[in-house]
């Protein structure tokens, strides 16, 4: 039996996280990502969930993270800044293309009357 190359797509939340990181650019760190997702989608996510996802994305090589500057609000704890890697960016664009192609022709369904 030959091996079938399985193409995996990003999960819904993973995609959101990656997009939020891309939007934030240099300012992307935990709390900011949560705020961005909350602001854009109205979805309030527990901090633990975001971190699990970040860990997973990092393990897959989609993001890189480093510890950076702190502020008094954080009780002296450093921020975990993340950026999307080339591989991550590729995954996002693959997902985007897949979604767009599936949505092609359905615009009338979604357009508001």
């Amino acid at each position: 039996m030959g091996t079938i190359k399985k193409k995996t797509f990003l999960g819904d939340f993973e995609l959101m996280v990656l997009l939020a990181i891309l939007r934030l650019g240099k300012e992307a760190y935990g709390a900011a990502i949560l705020r961005e997702i909350d602001l854009r989608t109205g979805r309030s996510v527990p901090g633990g969930a975001l971190y699990i996802t970040l860990d997973r994305l990092e393990a897959k090589g989609y993001v890189r993270s480093r510890l950076g500057g702190s502020s008094p609000d954080r009780g002296g704890r450093p921020r975990r800044f993340v950026r999307v890697t080339a591989k991550g960016f590729e995954a996002v664009s693959e997902s985007r293309e897949a979604l767009l192609s599936l949505m092609g022709g359905l615009e009338t369904l979604f357009s508001k009357p």
Partner: protein
């Protein structure tokens, strides 16, 4: 400003939650990032939402994150790994035997083993639940009572006092002159301040007048504590003089209750003991220094009089950095010596001392007593651990084949030991969590009972971080204690011998000396704990058996205290007599009297000089109790004069000075003769009372407090008309519920003077019970502790005996086949049990003796070496122990020899 309360700072999330979060997340990147993010969110929420909601939110976040992390990094990874392994061994080759996976496997194995023997797991867990829960209750109490003051660097706050080494007295108050000199001359302290406490009546504004605890403070007292008013200012040096308008600082509670938390309270007027005072400050919530005060008034130093005269005060100070307590003590003594030389005759021979403030407020024996109790209760944990160790040991014996097999196949000894420890840990951890719940309940119950008695504001008995850490410590120590013996025992066996042994699962390995030693230890510890509990319970029973012989449950009482400034002796008498007359008119009141003290709660002890009763030196005048009463008091208490007459309305200030004595008094000082008609003089020197004639003898009506050695000691009664007091207890007796008369009593008082308050209103029996509630509560607590210990020890003994009997089944069979009778076998088994029992009991009685002495403060009229209790406990344990070994012994006799020989 530094937040003076350690918990609940504004911007910080709950510290325990944060600590948990950090403990659960191993990866530093995730840990720091997440903890910081949560802090950031928390701070943002805190600005718009109430604190509890934010704390709740934070806890939810922590619970979610910890759960997800544990799942993701332990469980899910393991599943993935197993999937990989299932798809082919080669994939797994590089993964090795990582520590995490080893631990995980051991946990799973432990859980599986426990599931396989649910009975044993349940018993062990019950034992450990009690074993961690009960010490945790006691630890919460100790931790809550022996707290430091809730101030910044409170451990540097010392109580400063005079000592009188010649008379062997310590912790004496300081005269105002001394205070001024000490304050000016000392260098060891950042600052020192003086205080004195008093009860005051607060009236003014429109609410009912209230009695409150107040403290008079010298300037800068709050700065010494490092607590500042949340509104206004503290007392300055000018306030110590008489030139400025009288001021007052109020507690947060009083601010909220009396002024509805109005921020414009500063400058308003509060009438304290009839004197209008300006409110100049409000203290933070929860602050009631020195003991439990609600008002602070400036202490006016009166130093123009003769040195050493005038009211004295108590003193505290904050040590300078780098100065130790002995150094400070030495300096104070140097100053004291200098003062003694400067003013000979005033403070000669007096020294000075310093001790931690809370130690002084609590009394030094309390800490010792509490720690001893904690040590005693820890025995429950040790007993529980011994039990579990024995269970595991028994299992280790049964599993010795398995262990030998593992060793033979190359398992390192450490691996085997670790596996046993993990098993013990799993048991203890479950037990500890349940124990925490038990402790929570215990603390709730304890607080409910003790709420009326705790009079120190910083005492706060609750499950806090320290208690949780204690439980964690207990779990770790417990799993080591319970796991290490079985682990070492099992892993140390000689592999060849065990494998050669013909039986299938278990081996012939005996429960060794370890197990016997454990049982001996269990018996000893439970014996000690039971003796201590027994002593306490005997005290409770003694206390309950006291029959006061007075209808105290039919009487309602309350205290009325008249301000000295506005009430002279004549006005006092007039008010009290009018009050009595008005209360007599209350429908339902069957008897009314006024007494200076309640019966059975103690009072002042007067030195007395008695006609025809010679005493040698001035110092050795006998002391007797004294109470001031109105003539009706005998009726209200259901008593009558045994000899002579009681007081009447004709005993006035101008008439003959009279006194009643009680039976003990008559017996002690007049033996066979009648005291009636004799004269006595109370007090001595400057405060000697006029000569008084004894006009009658009354029964003993508990002059002293129940706590005293002799609550029914000698005592005298004065008529109020001849010895006016500023403070009296009203006593109103009713056939029905006496408490229903309270509002009418209040109305009667208000009609006479609306600025007076009735305080500490309750039924007399309940107020008397409040004096001794501490004995009751600790008695009940230790009854529970003791019974738990007895239960655990007997289960332990039974378990070990039963197991060792079953292990020797073959031996019994052989013996019986060779002609041994059932009785011989029973005797053989019993002998082993009795030997352990005897050694354990002997040790236990010695430990009990060592424990009961420091705990004797909490025994109600029971000697720490009460032989009856020691004997009862020894018999009780012996009986339990014999039953526990008799049951397995009888089982041994039922062994069928043929069966036994085939037995594997």
């Amino acid at each position: 400003m530094k937040d003076w309360r350690r918990l609940g700072g504004r911007g910080d999330p709950p510290p325990l939650a944060e600590a948990l979060l950090e403990a659960f997340i191993g990866d530093p990147k995730a840990r720091h990032g997440l903890a910081g993010d949560l802090r950031e969110h928390y701070a943002a929420r805190r600005r718009v939402r109430p604190g509890w909601a934010c704390a709740l939110w934070y806890w939810r976040q922590v619970a979610y994150a910890s759960g997800r992390y544990v799942w993701e990094h332990r469980v899910a990874r393991f599943r993935r790994w197993r999937r990989l392994r299932a798809s082919g061994p080669a994939l797994n080759a590089d993964r090795g035997d990582s520590l995490m996976r080893t631990i995980y496997q051991d946990f799973r194995y432990a859980l599986r083993m426990l599931r396989k023997s649910p009975g044993m797991a349940a018993i062990a867990m019950l034992a450990l639940t009690l074993g961690t829960g009960l010490p945790t209750i006691m630890f919460s109490i100790v931790n809550g009572v022996l707290r430091d003051l809730p101030f910044d660097q409170a451990e540097r706050i010392l109580y400063l006092h005079r000592t009188d080494p010649l008379r062997g007295r310590s912790a004496l108050p300081v005269s105002q002159h001394d205070f001024v000199d000490w304050r000016a001359q000392q260098m060891s302290f950042e600052g020192i301040a003086g205080f004195s406490t008093e009860d005051v009546t607060v009236s003014g504004s429109d609410a009912r007048p209230l009695r409150r605890n107040a403290a008079f403070l010298t300037a800068g007292a709050f700065s010494v504590l490092r607590v500042q008013p949340i509104l206004g200012r503290e007392f300055a040096l000018e306030d110590e003089g008489t030139a400025v308008t009288p001021s007052v600082i109020i507690s947060h509670a009083m601010w909220v209750n009396r002024f509805a938390g109005d921020s414009s309270v500063l400058g308003r007027t509060l009438v304290v003991d009839g004197e209008p005072r300006t409110v100049i400050g409000v203290m933070p919530e929860g602050f009631h220094f020195p003991l439990n005060e609600d008002l602070w008034l400036p202490l006016r130093l009166i130093t123009d009089g003769e040195r050493g005269e005038g009211p004295s005060l108590e003193m505290f100070g904050r040590l300078n950095d780098g100065i130790s307590m002995p150094q400070a003590r030495a300096e104070l003594n140097t100053i004291a010596d200098r003062l003694a030389r400067e003013y000979p005759g005033v403070s000669e021979g007096l020294g000075a001392g310093a001790m931690p403030y809370t130690e002084h407020a609590m009394g030094p024996q309390v800490a010792r007593g509490l720690y001893t109790m904690l040590a005693a209760v820890t025995f429950v944990l040790l007993i529980a651990c011994a039990n579990v160790a024995n269970l595991l040991l028994a299992r280790a014996v049964m599993r010795s084949k398995e262990v030998a097999m593992r060793t033979a196949l190359g398992a390192a000894r450490g691996r085997v030991v670790f596996q046993f420890l993990v098993e013990a840990f799993v048991l203890t951890a479950f037990g500890g969590l349940l124990g925490l719940a038990v402790a929570y309940l215990g603390v709730e119950l304890f607080n409910r009972e003790m709420v009326s008695v705790i009079g120190l504001f910083w005492i706060d008995i609750k499950i806090d971080v320290a208690v949780v850490l204690f439980v964690v410590g207990t779990i770790l120590a417990g799993s080591l204690l319970a796991g290490i013996l079985p682990a070492v025992q099992a892993s140390g066996t000689k592999v060849n011998e065990v494998l050669k042994d013909e039986s299938r699962g278990a081996s012939g390995m005996r429960l060794g000396r370890f197990s016997k030693a454990l049982v001996v230890g269990e018996i000893a510890l439970s014996c000690a704990l039971l003796v201590v509990s027994g002593l306490m319970i005997k005290g409770v029973l003694t206390l309950r058996a006291i029959d006061l012989g007075m209808p105290v449950e039919e009487i309602v009482t309350g205290e009325v205290e008249l301000p000295r400034q506005t009430y002279g002796p004549a006005e006092r008498l007039r008010l009290f007599e009018e009050l009595e007359a008005r209360m007599e008119a209350i429908p339902g009141a069957t008897g009314v009297a006024l007494m200076s003290d309640l019966p059975a709660t103690g009072g002042f002890a007067w030195p007395v000089r008695i006609e025809a009763y010679a005493v040698g030196a001035e110092e050795s005048l006998p002391r007797v109790g004294g109470m001031t009463v109105t003539p009706n008091f005998l009726d209200v208490l259901d008593a009558r004069a045994i000899e002579g007459r009681g007081f009447t309305a004709q005993d006035r200030a101008g008439s003959e000075q009279v006194v009643l004595v009680n039976e003990s008094f008559a017996r002690r000082f007049f033996a066979q003769q009648s005291p009636v008609g004799r004269t006595i003089q109370l007090g001595q020197d400057s405060w000697a009372q006029p000569l008084r004639t004894i006009i009658g003898v009354v029964p003993d009506l508990y002059m002293g407090s129940l706590e005293e050695e002799n609550a029914n000691g000698p005592g005298v009664y004065f008529p109020l008309a001849q010895n006016t007091h500023v403070s009296m207890q009203v006593m109103v007796r009713s056939g029905g519920d006496p408490l229903s008369l309270v509002s009418q009593i209040r109305d009667a008082l208000e009609a006479l003077d609306p600025s007076l308050a009735l305080m500490d209103v309750d039924r007399v029996d309940r107020l008397i019970a409040r004096e001794t509630v501490i004995f009751e509560v600790f008695g009940r607590l230790f009854l529970f502790f003791g019974l738990t210990a007895l239960f655990l020890a007997s289960v332990g003994l039974y378990g070990v005996m039963a197991f060792s009997v079953s292990q020797r089944t073959r031996e019994w069979g052989v013996r019986m086949a060779l002609g041994a009778k059932g009785g011989d076998v029973v005797r053989l088994v019993l002998a082993q049990g009795v030997r352990q029992l005897a050694v354990g009991l002997g040790l236990g009685l010695v430990i009990a003796g060592a424990l009961s002495v420091p705990m004797s403060d909490i025994f109600f009229q029971v000697e720490p070496w009460d032989r009856t209790i020691f004997a009862i406990i020894a018999l009780l344990l012996a009986a339990t122990g014999i039953v526990a070994s008799l049951v397995p012994a009888r089982r041994a006799t039922r062994v069928d020899p043929m069966e036994a020989l085939r037995y594997e």
